[in-house]
């Protein structure tokens, strides 16, 4: 069977991505899974493996007291942060979609952190306390939160305020995606709604939101994945620490990374179920 010229071009175009995927994603994943099934030592004579079966996976849950603790903290953090980021991104996208002067400049400003704020930059900002809003008195916020919520939840909310600027910095790509879909909405729809006496509030709920719903799901997934991979994420740091831990090492750390990946996939699954498009039954 002869391959069509278009098909060939298609493969050629995705070839760089394919090479990157195979060498930088698939191969490390297979390697990581192999590590996770072994007790691995990095000797000066080379890597040594002792087959450990699924012991490393078991030990992640049974031996590492921090993993479950950090996982719970991450789940709670994510539960709070993902909606905040997505809602903020939507609000900013709608503002940037207005016909205002210097629109391009504003769009650049909001996207800039995506390029500038790499892991080390964010770490420095957090360390220097530059991610909290200076005008907000954190102690007062904490005391109010403590009065209103249980300590464990107040702590999470307090962290949110402490790192609010960082969190909002995660919104660049989401803003871009929302902007793209907002520009696709036919202005005639709004015009017709206005003629029928619809307020801006009603237009948002009846026209904007239903139209952008698929993008909300994409943005939720994107935000969850970016938070899960963030250098600020304590679980990533825990995996790193275990890599170089004397009695655990790469095998244990790889097993932990795989377990973490499974948890993230489960969280993504929950998001998909919650925001999936419901098919309208035909009569």
């Amino acid at each position: 069977m002869k391959m069509k010229r278009e098909t060939l071009y298609g493969y050629l175009f995705i070839l760089p991505w394919l090479i990157g995927f195979l060498s930088l994603v698939l191969y490390p994943m297979i390697q990581s899974f192999y590590f996770s099934m072994n007790d691995m030592r990095i000797t000066p004579h080379g890597l040594q493996f002792v087959y450990a079966g699924f012991n490393n996976f078991l030990n992640v849950w049974l031996q590492d007291m921090f993993f479950i603790q950090e996982l719970m903290a991450f789940a709670l953090d994510t539960f709070i942060r993902v909606p905040v980021i997505v809602v903020f991104a939507l609000v900013i996208a709608m503002l940037l979609n207005q016909d205002v002067r210097f629109k391009g400049l504003f769009r650049t400003i909001f996207f800039l952190p995506v390029i500038v704020a790499s892991g080390p930059v964010i770490s420095q900002l957090v360390d220097q306390g530059a991610t909290a809003i200076p005008m907000l008195n954190q102690d007062i916020i904490m005391s109010i939160l403590n009065a209103l919520f249980p300590t464990w939840f107040a702590g999470v909310l307090s962290n949110l305020f402490n790192e609010i600027i960082t969190i909002l910095w995660y919104s660049g790509v989401q803003i871009l995606l929302f902007l793209a879909v907002l520009q696709k909405i036919d202005p005639n729809l709004y015009e017709a709604a206005k003629i029928d006496g619809g307020s801006s509030w009603e237009c948002f709920w009846k026209i904007t939101l239903p139209t952008i719903k698929p993008l909300i799901l994409i943005n939720l997934i994107y935000t969850l994945v970016s938070l899960a991979n963030s250098g600020q994420n304590p679980i990533i740091n825990l995996i790193y620490a275990n890599m170089f831990n004397a009695t655990r090492g790469y095998g244990f750390a790889s097993a932990m990374a795989w377990m973490y990946a499974v948890i993230i996939v489960l969280m993504l699954g929950i998001l998909l179920l919650a925001f999936r498009e419901k098919k309208v039954k035909k009569r």
Partner: protein
């Protein structure tokens, strides 16, 4: 016929192998370990000769970079056929960097490991240099308390102390004079120190008895219990009952009673000093600062002198009923790579940069002569103390220190250092991570200080656990 020949030949071969194996070569004294027996046939062996070939050895440590380069030059001057290549690594994440080098087969021929010996042992980085160490006449000159350190499995010398920075307790002489309290004797005891902490706590003047970087719980078992390591290590097992729990309870009491300075960056620090981020030792209101040798340099700077603070060094006091002069110390360890092609030469390099006499002569020279680009001396005071007993080295080092009797007294009582757990004891750091600072009680010390936990109630359990961790580490690390 031919079949019958094979059994006869086999028997002959076995006999030849047996006889050869049992025979000794009287004319050649070289043994299979490379150690040459002396002519008298006594126990003293001699080190095998160094190679004459042109070789390059790689070396990684977190010593001052200028000092490393200087020592490398001096080593090459002594052994012109050996080039030393310094491997520059960031001190932060040191063991991680070594792991990365090992993974690519580039572990330096000679390296220091940081804090946790479990990492190099588990990954089989440590070369066995028992034969060289035991045949080396310079080994006899090592300070008595550190000779046996590095025999992790009891038989093989896998690491050796390479740098020695003693625990140092600084007393503010001016504050003592101001309060009309006599400075203690250089031979002060542990209980005298505790009494002084209480005596020098004067709440109405905002004066605190002590501030800690180094801790009572580390000192007490070593100086009071004559331990050979942290947490009551006696050479075979740990015992955290008796000294450790006493010291921690006492420290907790001192913190709660206000004998201890408020901790950094707390509301109490802000209330006491007007600045929550001000180091208590620079306030002029602390009688004793539990610290380490490297702070001598800082305490001699204008920042402290201008404030009227005169920190003078004391050794950790002796236990009231102690039999030894053991003192806790920050001791770094190094080893030769298990994969080095030149173990004999690598051993010599490790020794030269660490405890060797020639190396120390070079270091003393460097302390006095090395300058930066701006002409300033690299070292304002010696970076560490000798690991050997050679009196002339100690005397020369003394000349580089301020002209105060305190330094004479200090050096005279610093000859029995005891290394801290992580670098010297398998399983120790893992125990700290998983039990002591991250176990059932969270941070054990913090829990006791806050009064949530009574150290006497948990010291037996902790003892059992730390001994388990030690045994597990030995079993697992030498698999």
């Amino acid at each position: 016929m031919r079949k019958n020949v094979w059994p006869i030949l086999s028997i002959l071969l076995i006999m030849v192998v047996f006889v050869t194996g049992c025979s000794s070569n009287d004319s050649d004294e070289q043994t299979n370990t490379g150690i040459v027996e002396s002519e008298e046939g006594s126990e003293h062996a001699e080190l095998p000769p160094m190679t004459d070939e042109e070789i390059t050895l790689t070396y990684a440590s977190w010593q001052n970079h200028e000092l490393q380069n200087y020592l490398a030059e001096q080593f090459t001057a002594k052994y012109p056929n050996i080039t030393v290549e310094i491997v520059a690594l960031e001190q932060d994440g040191w063991n991680d960097h070594l792991t990365n080098l090992a993974s690519t087969g580039d572990l330096p021929d000679v390296f220091w490991y940081m804090g946790n010996v479990d990492i190099p042992i588990r990954n089989m980085w440590l070369g066995d240099f028992t034969s060289y160490f035991e045949a080396d006449p310079e080994t006899d000159q090592l300070l008595d308390t550190i000779v046996d350190k590095g025999y992790f499995d009891g038989d093989r010398k896998l690491a050796a102390p390479t740098a020695y920075l003693p625990y140092t307790i600084f007393l503010d002489e001016n504050l003592f004079t101001q309060q009309n309290v006599a400075m203690p004797s250089a031979d002060w005891t542990y209980s005298e120190m505790l009494d002084l902490i209480e005596e020098m706590t004067i709440p109405e003047q905002g004066i605190f008895g002590y501030n800690t970087f180094t801790k009572l719980v580390t000192m007490a078992p070593i100086v009071n219990g004559d331990s050979d390591g942290e947490f009551g290590w006696d050479g075979e097992s740990y015992d955290m009952t008796g000294e450790w729990d006493d010291a921690l309870m006492k420290h907790g009491e001192f913190v709660r009673n206000g004998n201890h300075a408020p901790f950094y960056d707390t509301d109490e620090a802000e209330a006491a000093f007007g600045d929550r981020e001000l180091w208590a030792a620079s306030t002029g209101r602390i009688a004793m600062q539990f610290d380490a040798w490297w702070t001598v340099d800082l305490f001699g700077t204008d920042e402290f002198v201008d404030k009227g603070i005169k920190w003078v060094p004391y050794v950790v006091p002796k236990g009231d009923n102690a039999q030894t002069e053991n003192k806790p110390a920050f001791i770094d360890f190094g080893s030769i790579s298990a994969a080095t092609d030149h173990p004999r030469e690598a051993y010599e390099l490790l020794k030269f940069f660490g405890w060797g006499r020639d190396g120390w002569e070079a270091k003393l020279e460097a302390f006095q002569t090395l300058t930066r680009e701006d002409g300033e001396l690299v070292f304002n005071h010696p970076d560490g103390l000798p690991l050997v007993k050679d009196e002339d080295l100690w005397e020369e080092l003394r000349t580089l220190l301020p002209d105060l009797d305190y330094y004479d007294e200090f050096l005279a009582r610093s000859k029995y250092p005891i290394p801290l757990g992580g670098a010297a004891m398998p399983g120790f750091q893992t125990y700290l991570d998983e039990v002591y600072f991250g176990g059932e009680y969270g941070d054990v010390e913090a829990a006791v200080i806050s009064g949530e936990v009574n150290a006497y109630d948990i010291s037996s359990d902790l003892t059992e656990l730390i001994n388990q961790y030690y045994d597990q580490a030995l079993n697992e690390l030498f698999y």
